[in-house]
């Protein structure tokens, strides 16, 4: 039976949301291949939470239990998961493109000498041609490259398995069907103490100061809005219309805002109903983080700013004059 396998990431005993999204996506791919979804999980004291993966379509979970695997380190995870893949021979393996996924997946791909495509935004099963032959049921992996200036479709038709990492928040999370439960099979890690090469001395996690990903309205400041008076106006507009304040990278680099507030390729991707870009030029690395906003209003004094190419509404002018008018116009109707 063909398997589409998902590496399910757990942090401190909690299953990462991206892993659930990938189980759903694996189900869509498995249907096209006439196969099943399996998962591999490493950690300890997780036996109770794993059957629930079935509610997203997972049939079997391969669970490697060892207290030394509770916290991620590179070599033990990569070696153990590579062993599971060798044993169960899935067609496709998916990983979240998280710090963990992007650390582990290439090490596994190197060990298995297989194809790995990073940061995929779309996956399909389709046909692919080489000079020698036509391949059916190929795994098509779409991803941005060249700093986001191109979209590439990558194939690895002769590679078994084909592996991909997928960004969080890209694949659709289906509603769970709680009647379904996954079977949990306990597997050996195949590791010795020598494999644990990284000693973890301290772990510091902090809650994000703002949840950009969930925002419905975002008011964003760019380099053109870095002056204190401009930022004050932007904060006021956000407060007035019920939005959150975000920034482009230059304001984070300048130390004015924490990385939690950054929208863009190396920051957070947002999908609000409304994105108001104030003094943002619109380099592609920023656009990558907000292009899917339902409506985009761009305010910039430069009529040639690239942001105007993707905005729905464009206002060429001084944001220090425009933003107060927006606040007044909104309040006038409140």
């Amino acid at each position: 039976m063909k398997q589409v396998m998902v590496f399910v990431e757990q942090i401190d005993g909690r299953i990462a949301e991206v892993s659930l999204e990938l189980v759903c996506e694996a189900r869509r791919l498995a249907r096209q291949l006439g196969g099943v979804v399996t998962a591999v999980v490493l950690g300890s004291k997780l036996r109770e939470v794993l059957p629930a993966l079935g509610s997203y379509g997972c049939k079997t979970v391969y669970y490697v239990e060892d207290v030394r695997l509770s916290h991620y380190t590179s070599n033990p995870y990569a070696k153990s998961v590579a062993g599971i893949i060798r044993k169960h021979a899935p067609e496709i393996v998916l990983f979240g493109a998280t710090i963990i996924g992007r650390d582990m997946a290439p090490r596994i791909a190197s060990a298995l000498k297989c194809g790995l495509t990073a940061d995929c935004t779309e996956l399909q099963i389709g046909e692919s041609k080489s000079l020698k032959q036509v391949y059916q049921n190929t795994f098509l992996q779409m991803r941005p490259a060249f700093g986001g200036n191109i979209m590439a479709t990558i194939v690895s038709p002769e590679s078994v398995p084909s592996m991909a990492t997928v960004r969080p928040g890209v694949m659709k999370l289906d509603p769970p069907d709680t009647k379904l439960e996954a079977e949990v099979l306990v597997e050996e890690s195949g590791l010795s103490q020598d494999d644990y090469m990284t000693e973890v001395i301290e772990v510091v996690r902090r809650e994000k100061s703002v949840n950009l990903g969930a925002a419905h309205v975002v008011v964003a400041a760019g380099a053109g809005a870095a002056a204190p008076a401009s930022l004050a106006l932007i904060r006021k507009l956000a407060e007035t219309i019920g939005g959150v304040v975000a920034v482009s990278r230059p304001l984070v680099d300048a130390g004015l805002f924490s990385h939690d507030h950054q929208v863009g390729q190396t920051g957070t991707t947002v999908h609000p109903n409304l994105y108001i870009a104030c003094g943002i030029s619109g380099q592609i690395q920023h656009r990558a983080g907000m292009a899917d906003s339902k409506r985009i209003v761009a305010i910039n004094s430069d009529p040639d700013a690239p942001i105007f190419r993707i905005a729905h509404y464009g206002i060429v002018g001084d944001l220090n004059e425009i933003v107060p008018k927006m606040i007044d116009a909104y309040k006038g109707k409140a």
């Binding site: 190197s110 194809g115 790995l116 510091v204 409506r295 190419r309 206002i315 425009i322 109707k333």
Partner: protein, 288 residues
Amino acid sequence: MTLQIVVMVKQVPDTHHVTQDAMKPDGTVNRAALPAIINPEDLNALEEALKIKDRIGAHITAITMGPTKAVEVLKECLYRGADAVILISDRKFAGADTLATAYTLKHAIDKIGSYDLILCGRQAIDGDTAQVGPQVAEKLNINQITNLLEVLDIDAQQMTVRRAITNGYEVVRSRLPLLATVSGEANQPRSPSAKLVMAYKNIEKDIRGDSYDESYLETEETQMLSRIVEWNADSIGVDPSRCGLAGSPTKVKKIHNVVLAVNDIKQIPGTDAGIRSLMQELMADHII
């Protein structure tokens, strides 16, 4: 015992600064018009190597797999304080995906012989995969630490670092040798030194080849780097079927340029009336 550090660097097009000159009329980017630079996070990696050299002493060898033009990024490393540089170049390496690249780099590092630490940027701004570092580590059968933010301690046996994790950071320690990928947030790379630029700006590739050893004729002065070492597929003993396009399990099936002009933009005048009608429209559509 001098610490031996290998820094892997790459020449890339400057995809993060696409100016009007590099844009085609249809709104797509003209890749050929982008200037070639050293991958930004590789400069961060070199900077970590130089900080270690400043702190406890080290010998830094910068290597790159690329065409002849990639010599330019090796010179950037010399200008900042690298002790030796090697160009790994061969037509057989062209078209390599990350696995084939890692295979080739592993063999070059084997030829270098002894090393304590391998550093590279977290990811390159053209491929954007962040895969080569971990794949080289696996092929060398050494530990890897990605997203390095700060080197807290290092000696001949082990290294303690702070690295980025989801929603925070962790402090980890590992024995050497190991490979670390360096995040752009780790440091501010130093500028080239005027003195080193003067010393190395005219340096050429070594075209003698390594079939004839004249090293016994060299004085201490001539032993100072006078040319760039170049290795090809034969020098590093690779199996050609595992290099370049032939050795790449992943292949590009299709590319399409991201087109920037998608929306019919509504120009809003910056007047009271114009702004008012914009806000009214957004409210009528339940956007706000």
